[in-house]
């Protein structure tokens, strides 16, 4: 007994682990289910134990069984238990199991909230990581609401590993809890510029995913993404961004114009196929969005088509597939450019790969013309015969019909040919698209009057051979065609050669096996045919023939009267009575044919499918109000084309009803007549009496089935469409010959021997005349039809909830819910709370928040810097060969990046502009950079660290030791300039307004507004926009503005960005930028050029366009400010003349421009100050009337400092020069006086910097 217990225990000690389970299952191949069920029993035992290791093991096994399809939801609670283990090993198992089998309706999920929250704030990053990963799979609206704030805090975690996961999971949170989007968005946006490429990529990923569904809300991010696109070298990020732009361009054509150039450059430069492909795709999207043109449109299209051709011709099937896919997008707007590649696409139709064939089919749709339609369809018909697999064949069938019927049968010249194609298609086996063919037949027969004779003949043959379609069970779908055939034969029976034969065919007993709705059509149209037959028979010879026909009807109709289908039954009994009555009349020798015919008289007009919907409601009509007392009978007419033979209609059209209520009926009749007139499928029923001639079904009625299935079924008497191709060819030749004759008459001498060449020569569309005089009746629409407003959006789409305006200021009510039991601290804002929490809990987190703050302070310059770092990193990555798309792929991009330091590619400068409208307008604005700096920062953080100041940018000519040379020229030009200035000012104003907006927004959100002891006044005055770009020189042709920034990587380099703005209406070209080098500073010139050669500006300027170029200077000593004289030479080109012009300028290298915004922690800062290596200096500013945070912001912005710490009216600031000098400031303010105590290891530099700061503030 005891032994047994011990054995049990030991057995348990060696419980099966996952590997044992797998092995066991593999060893029990025959009775797997049985084995697994015993295993599950074991697992249940294990789960009952208290030991967490055993439980975890059991849960792990359950995860495996789940994969095999076993429902393990019964163990959900145990999974939660394992998730809450303190050990990472078990926790991970638990979360994995949860992510595999939890879903929204798993009730134990409620229990996990606190556990997950605990894990999210765990000191162990992998606990947090595992929780995030798990949560991403089973997040519910409740979890999302409760945890949104915690996750948002994690977005600023110190570890990039956590940051990127937190950023990614936010997307899931948004989906489940849309209210969180607006509060979290600023931080998400901030993560776009995270120093870690992984985090950045995650943020791009999330925003792209969001923007794809609701692009218009994300348009304002376009400049930011543009910047990323021109700076990033990570192909993953690039692809995402480029895809995103593809979604944005349709909303903003101006964006497209901006994109074309950089994208084209990428297309040319990249060797990564994935990137190339996405670029081409987006260029296509751009081209589609730009309705009317830029002049170089066709070049872009040509480039795309040409690149795609290369893809399609590639031996790699994947590229071929994608090439075709993209080609089909071009096709929609630029069919001409694709049509020239018809050969290639037809070739792809023969590909062995079905995916590729389908894509090629899609393309064919747009490539047909009147000329080649028959040829292409012929080719497709061949494929239909060859195709194995019904899906592909059905696809072919629909494509053939699509191609032929597109734009109102525009390309069909010969409808006989088309009808015979349709008839040939009915011979397809097992197609699902019978109704499609049927509706085409109906449509053509109704709308093309000239074809009716032919169509009716064909349909009659079809009806005669109906057994071919109904015989085989597999061919069920195709019998829909009989519906069309019967209707056409009935409606247009006057065209039938032998209506009697068709009538018999329609009354065969076999018809009873057809689906009900088809039988109904048969019965109804038999009546119509009957009318026609009567008329023919009464006209000639004696009445017996007519009576025989009536008898035939009376004999056959009872079959339908017994039908199980109500519709058939009803129609059949009506008609049967009618025929009996007619027969009675016939026996009295009364001529009835005329009257019977009258039942079906009248022409039918086709009505557009949505016509009924579009009838406008007349004014004053309330459709919901009762007109009379409760409605006695419904008068609603079914306008759906499929619902044929509405019961009331047929009843009302009977003449007998006239007796009832004369007036009322007359009115109704009038209404109905109108409706009938516009309903193509309205068919009138007829009662009549007739004599019937009895004819027993003879042997010749028994169908002889042809069973030669290896050959496509050929029904005798049906013409093959191929004949038409030949005929058509002959006809066209004849036409041409005729024409030629005419031409020859005109100019005999010129044309003598060109006859045969003409055959192969191109033929313009107009040359091809239709074979018949076809009158394609257009579909009728009601007068005053409403414009279509089809809203096809799926109301269940979760993304609908995310259609949220992200630019609106954040309201108090929108703040994320915060845990209430933490409410000891005042509830300010979620972010604050989160930060306070994290700050309280741990030291490392404190650091993170500091980092955050520093990041905010950093301006676009800093971003550039960090990006440079990233770039470098990426270089290294590449060397390791880990870039997923191949290191080659990046090479070209990287190279262009490097060159851009010397001279930015024309487009990249624009990336700095941020305000969308501003950015999109081509007009150059001096405050570009400042805009870029303020906007994102303002949204992300309203704190004084925001890089903005009060520099009035309406006067960009802030004198900064530049000597603007104004040479007055023609007055007209002057005027223009003025106008432009005014415009600019207007824009400026608008922009300012926007700024207010953003500030309120961020204040409301109060995101991170309190950080690390920096106490804020609640309502900060908004910061006015600032710019570091100052006027360099200006004349009547051109204006130059510049900004100088240090290069972090190279202690001896500064980059001068110059915006060139063309102010005149001539073309400026051959611009050359030259500077007289000093001993200390030298312009970096291209290799091989002499010390006095100028640098060519890498672009030309069309009128009123601006662009930016960057020039690199090397400097030796940076302690003194310095001026360099320079000249810009350029050619002004008018329509008639071109003149050489030059503009002198003085570049002013301030000491501040050698400083680089560098974040510094307060502890490091304190150490630095204590070290005693620094020299002291101080300066006092009097009469400064601006808020302290403005003051700080100005120092930050103009002099590249960052705030280390701020307490009330005192702040410490830090910066570093490109050569590594530390500069520390202590800024104090008291009533209008600001004292700045400064320390630096280089006194001269410090003195100069302080002078410059002083100057900055003396100017305002």
């Amino acid at each position: 007994m005891a032994l047994k217990i011990v054995k049990g225990s030991i057995d348990r000690m060696f419980d099966k682990n996952l590997q044992d389970l797998v092995r066991g299952i593999r060893n029990h191949k025959e009775d797997e289910a049985k084995y697994i069920s015993t295993c599950i029993d074991e697992i249940k035992q294990e789960l009952k134990q208290d030991n967490i290791a055993v439980k975890a093991n059991a849960v792990c096994k359950l995860t495996y069984l789940q994969m095999l399809g076993y429902d393990v939801s019964w163990a959900a609670f145990n999974i939660v238990e394992v998730m809450s283990s303190s050990k990472f090993t078990y926790k991970r198992i638990g979360y994995l199991a949860a992510s595999q089998c939890f879903h929204e309706s798993t009730d134990v999920i409620m229990l996990t909230t606190n556990q997950i929250r605990k894990d999210l704030s765990s000191p162990n990053q992998y606990d947090t990581g595992v929780a995030l990963t798990g949560l991403s799979c089973f997040v519910t609206p409740d979890l999302a609401r409760d945890l949104a704030n915690d996750i948002m805090t994690l977005m600023s975690h110190t570890k990039p590993y956590i940051r990127k996961k937190a950023v990614l999971i936010m997307y899931k949170v948004f989906l489940k809890y849309p209210e969180s989007l607006r509060p979290a968005f600023p931080r998400l946006k901030e993560k776009l510029e995270d120093p870690d490429p992984g985090v950045q990529s995650a943020a791009v990923n999330v925003i792209c995913e969001l923007a794809r569904r609701n692009p218009k809300n994300y348009l304002s991010l376009a400049p930011l993404f543009f910047k990323l696109m021109t700076s990033s070298t990570n192909n993953w990020v690039l692809i995402k961004i480029i895809k995103l732009f593809g979604a944005l361009t349709p909303l903003e054509p101006r964006l497209g114009k901006k994109l074309i150039e950089p994208l084209t450059n990428l297309i040319h430069s990249t060797s990564a196929m994935s990137l190339l492909y996405e670029c081409v795709n987006t260029v296509i999207a751009v081209l589609i969005s730009l309705s009317s043109g830029m002049p170089n449109h066709s070049a872009s299209i040509q480039l795309c088509v040409q690149k795609l051709r290369i893809l399609i011709e590639d031996s790699d099937q994947n590229l071929k597939y994608l090439g075709l896919l993209a080609m089909s997008k071009i096709l929609k707007t630029h069919p001409k450019s694709v049509q020239s590649h018809k050969d290639l696409i037809l070739q792809c139709l023969d590909d062995k790969d079905e995916s590729i064939r389908l894509r090629a089919l899609d393309l064919l749709y747009g490539m047909v013309s009147k000329k080649n339609l028959m040829e292409i369809v012929k080719k497709l018909m061949l494929h239909v015969d060859k195709a194995e697999g019904t899906t592909y064949r059905d696809e072919l069938l629909t494509k053939i019909i699509d191609i032929c019927s597109q734009s109102n049968y525009q390309y069909i010249t010969n409808f006989e040919w088309y009808i015979s194609i349709l008839v040939e298609l009915t011979r397809l086996e097992g197609t699902r698209h019978g109704h499609l063919i049927a509706s085409q037949m109906l449509d053509v027969a109704i709308r093309v009057k000239a074809i009716r004779v032919f169509a009716v003949a064909q349909m009659a043959t079809l009806l005669d051979n109906a057994h071919l379609m109904t015989g085989n069970v597999q061919r069920k779908g195709i019998c829909e065609v009989l519906y069309a055939a019967a209707w056409i034969c009935g409606e247009f029976s006057e065209h039938l050669d032998n209506p009697m034969q068709t009538l018999e065919a329609m009354l065969r007993p076999k018809v009873a096996t057809l689906p009900g709705h088809i039988q109904a059509v048969y019965v109804q149209n038999a009546a119509k045919l009957f009318a026609t037959v009567l008329k023919n028979q009464e006209g000639n010879t004696e009445g017996t023939a007519a009576q025989e026909t009536s008898q035939l009807m009376i004999d056959r109709l009872p079959l339908f009267v017994q039908s199980a289908n109500l519709e058939v039954q009803e129609r059949a009994s009506c008609i049967l009575q009618l025929v009996k009555y007619i027969q009675k009349l016939q026996q009295k020798d009364v001529e009835v044919a005329e009257e019977v015919i009258a039942l079906f008289a009248g022409e039918l007009n086709p009505v557009a499918p949505k016509a009924q919907k579009k009838v406008p409601i007349p004014e004053g009509l309330d459709l919901d109000a009762w007109i009379n007392e409760p409605p006695s009978e419904s008068e609603s007419e079914d306008e759906q084309p499929k619902a044929i033979f509405a019961k009331e209609e047929t009843k009302h059209s009977r003449p007998r009803h006239t007796e009832v209520d004369e007036k009322e009926l007359a009115r109704r009749r009038e209404v109905r007549k109108q409706e009938q007139a516009s309903n193509p499928f309205y068919i009138k029923a007829s009662p009549s009496s007739q004599k019937v001639y009895q004819e027993a079904p003879g042997v010749d009625h028994i169908p002889v089935v042809q069973i030669d299935l290896s050959v496509p079924l050929k029904v005798p008497g049906l013409p093959m469409s191929d004949q038409y191709v030949k005929l058509e060819e002959e006809r066209r030749q004849k036409d041409r010959a005729d024409k030629k004759k005419k031409e020859k008459k005109k100019r005999k001498e010129k044309r003598s021997g060109r006859g045969k060449k003409h055959d192969s020569g191109p033929e313009s569309e107009e040359d091809i005349t239709p074979a018949h005089m076809v009158d394609i009746v257009t579909e009728e629409m009601p007068e005053n039809a409403l414009p279509s407003d089809d809203d096809d959006k799926d109301p269940n789409d979760p993304h609908k909830a995310l259609d949220i305006d992200l630019d609106k200021p954040l309201a108090d009510s929108e703040k994320l819910p915060v845990r209430s039991h933490r409410a000891a601290e005042p509830l300010k804002s979620p972010a604050e709370d989160g930060d306070a929490e994290s700050a309280a809990s741990q030291e490392p987190k404190k650091k993170s928040s500091k980092e955050k703050r520093e990041k905010k302070k950093d301006k676009d310059r800093d971003r550039k810097k960090s990006k440079d770092e990233k770039k470098k990193k990426k270089h290294r990555h590449e060397e390791k060969g880990e870039d997923l798309l191949g290191s080659q792929a990046d090479e070209p991009v990287v190279q262009s990046e490097e060159t851009s330091e010397v001279a930015a590619p024309p487009a990249s400068n624009t990336a700095e502009v941020s305000d969308l409208d501003f950015w999109l307008s081509n007009a150059p604005v001096p405050s570009n950079t400042q805009e870029a700096a303020t906007l994102p920062a303002a949204v992300a953080a309203p704190v004084p660290e925001t890089p903005s100041g009060t520099a009035p940018d309406s006067e960009p000519d802030e004198p900064k030791d530049t000597e603007p040379e104004e040479t007055d020229k023609k007055s007209s030009k002057h005027k223009k300039k003025k106008q432009k200035k005014e415009k600019k000012e207007e824009k400026e104003k608008k922009k300012k307004k926007k700024h207010h907006h953003h500030h309120r927004h961020s204040d409301g959100g109060a995101e991170e507004s309190v950080q690390n002891g920096t106490v804020e006044e609640e309502e900060e005055e908004p910061l006015p926009p600032m710019s570091n770009y100052c006027l360099l020189a200006e004349n009547s042709y051109i204006k130059m503005e510049n900004d100088i920034q240090g290069n972090l990587q190279d202690g001896s380099q500064v980059v001068v960005s110059v915006i060139f703005e063309n102010k005149c209406d001539s073309f400026l070209k051959s611009m050359e930028f030259n500077v007289l080098d000093s001993l200390n500073s030298k312009l970096q010139r291209a290799e091989g050029s002499g010390p006095h050669d100028g640098l060519t500006v890498p672009f030309q300027l069309p009128p009123v366009v601006s662009n930016e170029a960057r020039f690199v200077f090397t400097v030796q000593s940076i302690v003194m400010p310095q001026k360099l004289k320079g000249t810009l030479t350029f050619i002004v080109k008018n329509e008639d003349s071109s003149t050489h012009e030059k503009l002198d300028f003085k570049l002013h290298f301030t000491c501040s421009s050698y400083l680089i915004t560098t974040p510094c922690y307060s502890d490091a800062f304190a150490k630095l100050l204590e070290s005693g290596d620094l020299k002291c200096s101080s300066v006092k500013l009097e009469g400064v009337i601006m808020p302290f945070h403005h003051l700080l912001a100005r120092i930050c912005f103009h002099h590249h400092f960052s705030v280390v710490e701020r307490v009330d009216s005192c702040a410490s600031m830090y910066s570093r020069s490109i050569q590594g000098h530390h500069v520390c400031l202590l800024v104090k303010t008291s009533v209008q006086t600001v004292t700045i105590d400064a320390k630096c290891d280089e006194p001269t530099l410090l003195g100069n910097v302080l002078d410059e700061i002083k100057q900055t503030f003396s100017q305002c």
Binding site: S9, R26, Y321
Partner: protein
């Protein structure tokens, strides 16, 4: 978004499934069967994209797959993903597996489904691409494994198991000599990974390496 990731072998047996939207178990199996049916009938030299999976996703979705030796790696993605990008991602994933398992073969995936999941979690999270840098992925996986090892050191396991045993075990410890138990011990003790080759002679194909795509 990635809708689902499926790994199954040439016979359609699932080796790893990951759905980023919820499906009941039967539905999941049905999807696997359908996907296998679609993918397996395609030659190796046709393109790796496939439309027309009827069970998962809508018209917006594509199946992107790669076939390595005995395994199919199938990603079902919507149009926000770059087709070629996902193909590369699969390659990254497989190469990562190769690094983590050292010449990965189907058997590794069979016996260590959990580990494969952990690796996948570092590549794709909640249907979105998390990391594409292989070294970074491997580093994170290894760090976590190291952590697991430090937690579940031999002594720790012993302690865990010891708590299961009742106190009177010592009295009967000699009974461990019981043949059946001994056999069991040897079975468990042997390396599950490689020793399985003997057990699984039937499926020798499992052994072929995956690192090169078969196409």
């Amino acid at each position: 978004m990635i809708k689902s990731i499926l790994i199954f072998n040439n016979h359609g047996k699932p080796r790893l499934i990951r759905f980023y939207q919820y499906f009941a178990e039967e539905m999941q199996q049905q999807i696997i069967r359908e996907t296998f049916h679609l993918v397996s009938k395609r030659d190796d030299n046709v393109c790796n994209f496939l439309e027309g999976g009827s069970l998962i996703g809508g018209s917006d979705d594509k199946l992107i797959y790669r076939h390595y030796a005995t395994l199919y790696f199938v990603f079902c993605v919507d149009s926000s993903e770059s087709e070629l990008g996902i193909l590369d991602l699969i390659q990254v994933f497989v190469e990562t597996l190769d690094k983590c398992f050292e010449n990965v073969c189907e058997l590794d995936l069979i016996f260590h489904m959990d580990k494969v999941h952990y690796i996948l979690q570092e590549v794709v999270m909640g249907g979105m691409v998390l990391e594409t840098n292989m070294n970074e992925i491997v580093a994170q996986v290894e760090l976590q494994n190291r952590m697991e090892k430090s937690e579940v050191s031999p002594s720790a396991t012993l302690k865990d198991h010891a708590s299961v045993l009742t106190s009177n075990i010592t009295v009967f410890i000699s009974l461990v000599a019981d043949l059946r138990i001994a056999a069991h011990i040897s079975d468990v003790a042997s390396d599950p990974n490689r020793s399985d080759v003997a057990v699984d002679v039937v499926e020798t194909t499992d052994q072929s390496e995956l690192s090169r795509p078969s196409s």
